[in-house]
C-alpha cells in the first residue's frame, strides 16, 4: 500500500480514536474513515449505510480490527503506517472502496452506499485544487 503517512497521521493526531465500549457505531466509523481517507467532511448518512452493509455482509469485524490497530498506533506515524500496510483483514481497502466508489462488496455483487457523496467524484470535479469541496 502506498501510504501518505503525514496526511493520515495529521488526521489521526487531530482526532484520536477512542476505545470502543461495544460494537462500532457511526461516530467511530466516521472517525476511522477520516483517518483512512484523510477527508474530514465525510457524510454521516453514507457512514450509516456503510455500517449497515458491513454488518449485513459480515465484514464489520474487518473494519473493527483496523480500528483497533489504528487506535493502538495512536499518533505514531510509523505505527499507523504499519497498521495500514498490514491491513490483514482488508478493512482499509473496504473503507477506501466504500468511500471512494460508493460501493461495498455483497454476496450477489456490489452494494450501493452512496453516489453523489462518493469521493471519486469529488477528486475529479471541475473545482480548483484548494476548493473546500475538493
Amino acid at each position: 500500500m502506498v501510504l501518505m503517512v503525514p496526511r493520515i497521521a495529521a488526521a489521526q493526531a487531530a482526532e484520536p480514536l477512542r476505545p470502543l465500549s461495544k460494537d462500532m457505531d457511526v461516530e467511530a466509523l466516521l472517525a476511522l474513515s477520516r483517518a483512512v481517507t484523510g477527508h474530514a467532511d465525510l457524510s454521516a448518512e453514507m457512514a450509516s449505510r456503510m455500517l449497515a452493509v458491513l454488518a449485513e455482509t459480515g465484514r464489520l469485524a474487518n473494519v473493527s480490527a483496523l480500528y483497533d490497530a489504528l487506535r493502538l498506533a495512536g499518533s505514531n506515524a510509523q505505527a499507523i503506517a504499519a497498521a495500514l500496510k498490514s491491513d490483514g483483514e482488508g478493512g482499509a481497502k473496504l473503507l477506501l472502496r466504500g468511500w471512494y466508489t460508493g460501493l461495498l462488496p455483497g454476496p450477489k455483487g456490489p452494494i450501493l452506499i452512496g453516489y453523489e457523496d462518493a469521493l471519486m467524484g469529488r477528486v475529479v470535479a471541475d473545482l480548483p485544487p484548494d476548493h473546500p469541496k475538493r
Partner: protein, 528 residues
Amino acid sequence: MSEADCDTLIVGAGLAGALVAYRLALKGQRVVLLDAGPRLERSDIIAAFRAAPRKNDFMAPYPSPPHAPQGEYVIQKGAMPFKAQYIRAVGGTTWHWAAIAWRFLPADFCMRSTYGVGRDWPIAYDDLEPYYQQAETELGVAGPDPAKEDLGSPRRAPYPMPAAPLSYMDREFANKLKAHGFRVVAEPAARNSVAYDERPACCGANNCMPICPTGALYCAAMHVAKAEAAGARLIENAVACHVETDAEGRLVTGLRYRRPDGSDARIIARRIVLAANGIETPKLMLISRSDALPQGVGNSSGQVGRNLMDHLNVGVSFLWDRPIFPGRGPQEMSAIVDYRDGPFRSSEAARKLHLVNMADLAGVTAALIEQGLSGPELERQIRHRVARRAAIDCFIEQLPDLENRIQASRTEMDILGIPRPEAVYSVDDYVRRGIKETLRSYRRIAAVLGATEVKLRASPSGSSHMMGTTIMGDDPRHAVVNRECRSHDHPNLFIAGSSVFASGGTVNPSLTIAALALRLADTITAGG
C-alpha cells in the same frame, strides 16, 4: 375475451411502431398500439439509475416485469451467444442509446450486386432518401454541414440541427488522426444541439446511456405521446401471443394478447403492423401456427427468424499521452469512417470505429485501491488516469446467413406460458477478417496517439442490433416481406423494424428503422 376494432393494429411501441402509429393517427385512422411492457417515467428511471450499483449496466435502471422479462429470457443455442439487450416497455430501447443516427450508405443496399456477397435490398438508397430526411426531422437529428463534411450518404437538405460542438478529446482525436491519414467525422445524432421540438439542448450530462436526464436525446416514447394526442390508443402490458387469420390463412384478422394476470384479449384489425423488434416479431410469427399455416404466419418461405444479423464489436482502451478529459459532452461524437465501404467488402466485413466519450472513473478508482493506493497518491493517480484513459469501439458488419436465426422454444415458456425465443448464432470468416483488420487499426491508432497500457478486447461481442429475421426481398420464396414491408403471404400484414433489413451495414439501425417506418406509413395511407 374482449374485442375492439381498429383500422391498424401495431404490435410494439418502440421506434418503428410509434412512428407508424403517429403518422396513421394523423391521417384519421383508428390505431391501436400494443406493447408488452409498461409506460415508463423518465424521473423513475433517473431515480433507479442513481440507486443502481453498476452505473455501466445500461439495463439496470429499467424494469424487467415478470410478464415481459429481459436478458436471460432469450435462450442461447448457438456457438456464440447473441447479445439481446432490449427494453420491453413503451418507447423501447430508444430509452437508452447513444442516439447516433447515421444513414446507410448506398452500397449497403446492394451488397450482392456490388461485392458479390450477402443480399441486395429490393429498394435502393434513393428510394429511402426522402424518408431519411423525414426521419431526421421527426427524431431531431443534429449533424455536420453537408457542404463541409460528406458522410457518404447523399442528401438533399442539411440536417435539422447543426452538429453539437465536439469535446476537447474529440477535437484532439480528430486532429491527431487526420494528420496521419485517417478520416474522422462528427457523427450525426438524434440529440438536440439546440432546443428542438419542445425539448432542450443537450447539457452534456454524459449520461445518454442508460438514461438522458433531460429529454434532449430522442426517445420513441415521445412519438407514442404524439400518436396518442392524434387519437391512437395505447395498450400497455399486453403481450402479443397469436396473430389470427381467416380460415384460408390469407388475411390476418386480429391478434390475441395476454395480460400480466394471464387473461387473454383479442383485437380485430383490418391490418396489422408487427414492430416488436428482430427477436419478438419473428417469434410471434412462428408461434402463430394454425391448421392453415403450420409454419406460422407469413412463413411460407421458411425464412422467418433466419438471417439474424448484428454488429460485432471488439475494442481497445489505453492511456493517452496527455490529459484529454473524456466524459465531457455526449457519450459518443466521433467516428473513423475509412472502412465503411470499399472493394475489400467482397471478402472482409466493413466497420465503423467510434471514440467512446465516457470516463471510467469507478473502474479506475477501484483498480487503484486494489493495487494498494490511498491518500493523496490515490487521488493524484485517479486524476491522472481518468483524464487520459480512452477507448475506441466499433460496429463490424455481418452478412445474412440462414443458419443464424431466432426460433420459438418448444419446451421453455415465459411466465405467461408463451414460448421463449431461442437464438442460434455464430460468426463466419468474413466477420473474422474484419475483426483482424480492426485490431490492426486499433494498434495503429494507439501508436499515433502515443498510447501506453494498450488493452485490446479481441474477443467479439454483439451490439444488440437485431436485424434480418423477417428479411425483405422481391422473391417470395426467399424473403418474408416485399419492398413495401408487406408480407408476401398476407396482403394486410406489414412489418416495421430492423428485422426487414437485407444487410446490416456498419452503423446502428435506428435511423433506417425510422425511415422505413415512415415509408410504410405512406404505403398504408396510400391504400395499403
